[in-house]
Symmetry: C2
Subunit: 235 residues, 2 copies
DNA sequence: GCGCGCCAACTTGCATGCAAGATGGCATGA
DNA sequence: TCATGCCATCTTGCATGCAAGTTGGCGCGC
């Protein structure tokens, strides 16, 4: 199951997805897997033709994608797939540090049984990461890591935080796929995750925030130089 | 000058605003000043008529407003103006605490002359608040306070943070107008703002974050009970 | 050979037409 | 009197037409 236009998916539980939803999902997926490479300029007409619909739903989906920061709609010139510059990664990490830090703090401040439920979930993902690491299974490691961070934010039960993180995750998906192959310090993450979990278990809000922040800041400080050294200017 | 669809305003410096932009701005303004009250259900046709355009630009503006969380587009039933529940205010405050806290920390970590520029700006706004307070000028106080918090986030030079805060500010504008009249502790804000400024001046990142967080948490803890006591269920 | 301007092709902005889904009221039956 | 079902009306989803803005290339003048 895919991410989809949360704006509807979670609000109006179910209804037949409209063509706009289809176009939105298809385009987003195409951007995620680089069928639409950054910098590529597509015409709405062409996309509409490929998706078997008229320009209208494609245009409306493009507006939503622009709002998500994934494309730019250039008046009378088409849809431009956005590229991410190193500076965007800096911005993204700062937002993540802020939101995940607060989320961890909030979780640790919740009643004991709720804390434990979240902590157990986080522990499952972290164990999966540990296992994947010993087996050198990058793909599984990445998925478990993603689940961990999603569960962390969802644990704070704040729809706006979830939405913010979802948007930013979508934006940085390609960069993440790229850096995943480069990282050589995956073991450190497991340990840092466990520290976060411990703080949540004992209800140490300040510690939870601090360890969540430290984890992301450390990751940022390993990855950004890596990107720099590869001279990556946009991804 | 009004807020406008930042998605374009800051990216493509200038171009004749399209009808969609007009519709977006007009509807947003109508929601801000409660011409469109929460819970009101409008038809696109009717809005289009009032704005002197066809349904198409109104519909596209509605999509953007829905993405901003200000309205819901109900399929084949019209546009519903969203109301804010107390729980939404809780969510909003948590996001603000996270983002402004990190922003203050980032500013305090910048080079001295940049810190000072931001601090001076913040000090001007705080002085204006102080003056407005002694003169019991609520409107001026509110505007200066708004400028202070905007400057705080803009000082961190992170477009995504600015955008997040802008979205949330738009959502909570009506609630802010309502609570402004109820508050009896405006003096405390001035003092707390000064504490933030001092930390920024001396480059105390941890202190800046902590005082920014404390400021917002204190405000939340005074306001939410106030809303509760008035039995406000949506605004 | 080189620069400049014009034009044809292309692209979207916006209006409108049509069909299908949603709604509220009225008539009908118990 | 009340519940139920049908239909007229309203509203949007989506396709398409037209006009205006943008672009790239070709030809003309130098």
């Amino acid at each position: 199951m895919m991410v989809r236009g949360r704006a509807d998916a979670d609000r109006d539980s179910e209804r037949r997805p409209s063509l706009v939803d289809d176009a939105y999902a298809a385009m987003k997926q195409a951007i995620r897997d680089s069928s639409f490479a950054p910098g590529y300029q597509a015409s709405e007409q062409e996309i509409a033709l490929r998706l078997g619909m008229s320009r209208t739903p494609v245009h409306e989906a493009a507006i939503r994608l622009q709002e998500d920061g994934l494309v730019r709609v250039l008046p009378r010139r088409g849809i431009l797939i956005c590229a991410l510059a190193p500076d965007d990664m800096r911005e993204i990490y700062d937002v993540i540090v802020a939101i995940e830090g607060r989320a961890a703090e909030l979780i640790a401040a919740r009643p004991e049984h709720q804390r434990r439920a979240v902590a157990d979930d986080l522990a499952v993902q972290t164990d999966a990461m540990d296992a994947a690491w010993t087996e050198q299974d990058l793909r599984s490691w990445g998925e478990a890591d993603e689940h961990f961070h999603r569960a962390l934010v969802e644990g704070a039960a704040n729809g706006r935080m979830i939405r913010i993180i979802q948007t930013i995750t979508d934006q940085s998906h390609r960069a993440r796929m790229f850096t995943l192959k480069l990282r050589r310090e995956l073991g450190a993450s497991v340990e840092e995750h466990r520290r976060i979990i411990d703080c949540i278990r004992v209800g140490d809000a300040a510690g939870a925030m601090e360890s969540a922040r430290t984890h992301r800041l450390r990751a940022r400080d390993t990855l950004l130089p890596l990107l720099d050294s590869f001279g990556v200017k946009h991804l």
